[in-house]
Symmetry: C2
Subunit: 203 residues, 2 copies
DNA sequence: TGTACATCAGTGAACGCGCGTTCACTGATGTAC
DNA sequence: TGTACATCAGTGAACGCGCGTTCACTGATGTAC
């Protein structure tokens, strides 16, 4: 049953993409190697022909996802103001992070990644640097260091907003968190003030 | 070996506090029930006299920690401008989240909490609401809804900054993320521009 | 106040399942001659 | 170009360990009378 080099490469890629989706959807530890393989249409035994370990798969998955994130950010930055605003709105949407195969690893697996091994964290660190450099090009700040500072803060805030929106067990509250972040990051007033939240806060 | 009611209550409290520390330090899944019990000076068999399950312990731990978070925030808000600035600086410090027994659950276990059970998420949601209401009192915004919006964004940004700082594998970079967040949240210029980061970004 | 008995916190061994990893095997690929 | 053989992707069963949970037991507490 040996496969051709092309097929092998395609299989490997498919496993990584499946894993990238499952990791983001269910979390790192909650994702089982056997589940990933099954979702990729394979049995679990063949896993170790492609990867040394589950941890290794995580590194590869993060690498692939960061690549996608960079592509999206590049398009947004090069697409002008409208495209950038759309990009931020998409990132700060419930759907983006709830859709199988999409989402940002920092927002969906953040606290687990803090305990990942060195290769994974290095990949993520480099990916974050690249992401920052891209977003800095869209900053209203003139000076490079100020633009970088601006990008660092905005991206951290975006990650935090999605993280909080996913923890909260109230859909309206989650939306409120995301809308506020969108407004602040884009420097615009939020769409609609939210009555519900204020009421709950009174409790 | 039955213990008095007072002793039992003390033991339960000790287990919860130990768990709260371990969960924040190592993550939810990486924390073993037996480890918590051992760290609390007990054997694991007695765990189920106090809790239904590990998940139940997580709920209790989150509840306790949110209580601490509220106490800290209350002191900060009632202590005037200086106290509040110190509070934000402490939250956005590496030590706070690396110290055993301290740290914010959202920043240290964020992505895992998104998959927690309903009681836990409800506890966290209520805790977040309370936290927002407290911080809103310190907001420069006059109007209540604007102050609330301000608090929501700042707290999300703080959670995101700590989350990112913990993922990144470079201490200087982590500090840069935290300083930028501190500066932005407090509306002040960052302490020192960072050379290193720009250099790395060029790579 | 004293006594008998039920309760139950804590122990330590054991259970049982899940999951990452290994392994013998198959048979198609691809290479050496 | 054809043939023999080594390689190795994928299979499915099995391994082995870890960890949440259960359980029989102990003996101090606390309650009923």
């Amino acid at each position: 049953m040996k496969k051709s080099k092309v097929e092998t490469a395609e299989t490997r890629k498919r496993i990584i993409e499946t894993a990238a989706a499952e990791f983001r959807q269910k979390g790192v530890q909650a994702t089982r190697v056997a589940d990933v393989m099954a979702a990729a249409g394979l049995t679990h035994g063949g896993f170790y022909r492609h990867f040394d370990s589950k941890e290794h798969l995580l590194t590869e998955a993060c690498s692939t996802v960061m690549g996608n994130m960079e592509t999206m950010a590049t398009d947004a930055v090069e697409g002008g103001k409208r495209a950038f605003e759309q990009y931020v709105a998409t990132y700060l949407s419930r759907e983006f992070h709830e859709t199988y195969g999409k989402g940002c690893p920092f927002a969906t697996m953040g606290s687990e990644l803090a305990h990942a091994d060195e290769p994974t964290r290095q990949t993520l660190t480099e990916g974050f640097e690249t992401w920052i450099a891209l977003i800095a090009r869209q900053s209203p700040e003139e000076e490079a260091s100020a633009a970088r500072a601006d990008a660092i803060f905005k991206l951290s805030a975006m990650v935090g907003a999605v993280t909080m929106a996913r923890i909260v067990d109230d859909e309206a509250f989650a939306q409120e968190i995301l809308s506020q972040a969108t407004a602040r990051v884009l420097g615009k007033p939020a769409k609609a003030p939210r009555k519900r939240a204020a009421a709950t806060a009174l409790k």
